[in-house]
Symmetry: C2
Subunit: 309 residues, 2 copies
């Protein structure tokens, strides 16, 4: 699956992942109204609105990008119905040829981590049959519990040829509270990065590992260091756009082969029509606004990568 991601990036010339993190206030009123007319102001109605909104965006951008990253929390808040919309979104994106990164940030130990891995990346056995619950292609994993938490995910990834992105340095302002603490003079995130590199060695694809990392666009200097610590790991980079990251900040997240990073934008793409810059599209054409935002992001990143050559 890491190979599919790399091929997708080469084909689209867009190391971009669209974050499908639907908030109700992003969803144009006409979509909400239609969903509520059919299912009422219920969890089912909300889930239908989320799904229709996602579908519009995916239809408008699937040829331009290699991957999407649905944030499961935004679906989980609507309970079972929301999670049905999550699964439906994963399936639809895969039908469209997109790589799906489930942003689930799970992490537990032993058989419990394996249960998460089975539910999201693998197959669960029921009697003599097996089933795939949420069937993403990659998931994000929290490293706080150490190898006991990560290895069970790696086991399933090996079986299924799927991949992980381990949280190393997150994009948020308070990420330093624990991640930046100095251990023998070096920040904790560097030690986590070294561990990601070591885990990655155990699960290599052709040129890159199935084990990647999450490093926020908001910390470009740290990204530069971490790029060197984890040369064979893809870095999933959140924090572009709405959180403040720009193309020029991102060049050091890439390797000299022009690969090794994939940049996420969520709100900046899916709610583009709410920005002044794209306001002329109007809520009715929200998906076209998203398409234009992807094209602009692609140009920004490619421009920065060209300028850095």
């Amino acid at each position: 699956m890491i190979q599919k991601l790399i091929e997708g990036i080469k084909r689209t010339k867009a190391p971009i992942v669209v974050g499908l993190d639907p908030m109700m206030n992003y969803i144009p009123e006409y979509i909400q109204k239609k969903a509520f007319a059919e299912f009422g102001e219920t969890l089912e109605g909300a889930a239908e609105a989320v799904w229709q909104y996602n579908k519009g965006i995916v239809d408008a951008v699937y040829e331009l990008v290699p991957a999407v990253k649905p944030q499961i929390a935004m679906y989980e808040q609507f309970g079972i119905e929301g999670l049905k919309a999550f699964e439906k979104t994963v399936s639809y994106c895969q039908e469209k040829g997109l790589v799906v990164i489930g942003d689930i940030k799970r992490g537990d130990i032993g058989s419990t981590s394996e249960a998460y891995a089975v539910g999201h990346l693998g197959k669960v056995q029921v009697g003599s049959h097996s089933f795939s619950g949420f069937h993403e292609d990659f998931v994000t994993v929290n490293p706080y519990l150490g190898s006991d938490g990560v290895k069970p995910f790696m086991k399933i990834c090996k079986e299924e040829k799927k991949g992980l992105f381990i949280l190393v340095k997150t994009s948020n302002p308070s990420s330093g509270e624990f991640q930046d603490r100095l251990v023998d003079g070096r920040p904790l995130y560097e030690l986590v990065g070294e561990q990601v590199a070591a885990w990655g060695e155990e699960l290599m694809g052709d040129t890159y590992s199935y084990v990647g990392a999450v490093v926020g666009a908001t910390y470009p200097e740290m990204g530069k260091t971490l790029r060197k610590i984890m040369p064979k790991s893809f870095i999933l980079v959140p924090g572009y756009g709405a959180q403040g990251g720009k193309g020029a900040d991102l060049v050091h997240f890439f390797n000299d082969d022009g690969l090794g990073a994939i940049v996420n934008s969520s709100r900046g793409i899916i709610a583009a029509y709410k920005q002044e810059k794209y306001a002329s599209f109007g809520a009715e054409n929200y998906a076209e606004a998203s398409r234009q935002a992807v094209l602009d992001m692609q140009a920004d990143i490619q421009g920065a990568l060209e300028a850095a050559k």
Copy 2:
């Protein structure tokens, strides 16, 4: 809800939480057969088996303990159907008067963490109505992302009078990989413990905080230190029984008032009938074996607390 937990512990004299972490191979064959006969060897069939198994245990133990802790991974592995069984289990336990600790180990940032909090502890707004997705009473939270990850949970806890247990020192063998790393000569878990104490001050109940901590029974010396660092936080203690912890190891997790800790046992209780000690109950009477295992655990912990006085 912290007050309800404390009252439950006093009433039952059992600072015990039963971990409802059903694995298929724990579930007696007659329950599986019946569920598969009705729903086939499907995710629905597996979820029905899980639910019937849980119900049997809850009916046998609900008067003996104050709380249960369903581990959501064990349900999530069965996809949507598994999560329906999770929600059904939460509802049933609450009907029986039990405090429900959702072991979800979620953690993200800002609006995403808030979405998890809303889905598991709060209410989500849909038009002019609001709904509670999974409605646990407490949840476990991963601290790796810092305050940005925890504060949104605290906001919802304040509104709903519900609580958190933040991972501080987990019970697994590799928990030291990151948690024990020395920062200025002190292990990271102590710094996380201090932060838990500080968050806890912001959200106090009558005597204990709504913000608790997770510290593994397998690390009794660390538990002793953390008890002092977080005097007003309840400690949720996993790792008793199957993972190796014994009553005598646990006394320092408690405060002098005999409160402040609640000890989890999962496999040791719910799959008691598979142990030699309880084998005479037989698979048909698995729930009675679980009841006996709770009584034995209660005696072990109370004995250790008496001996330490």
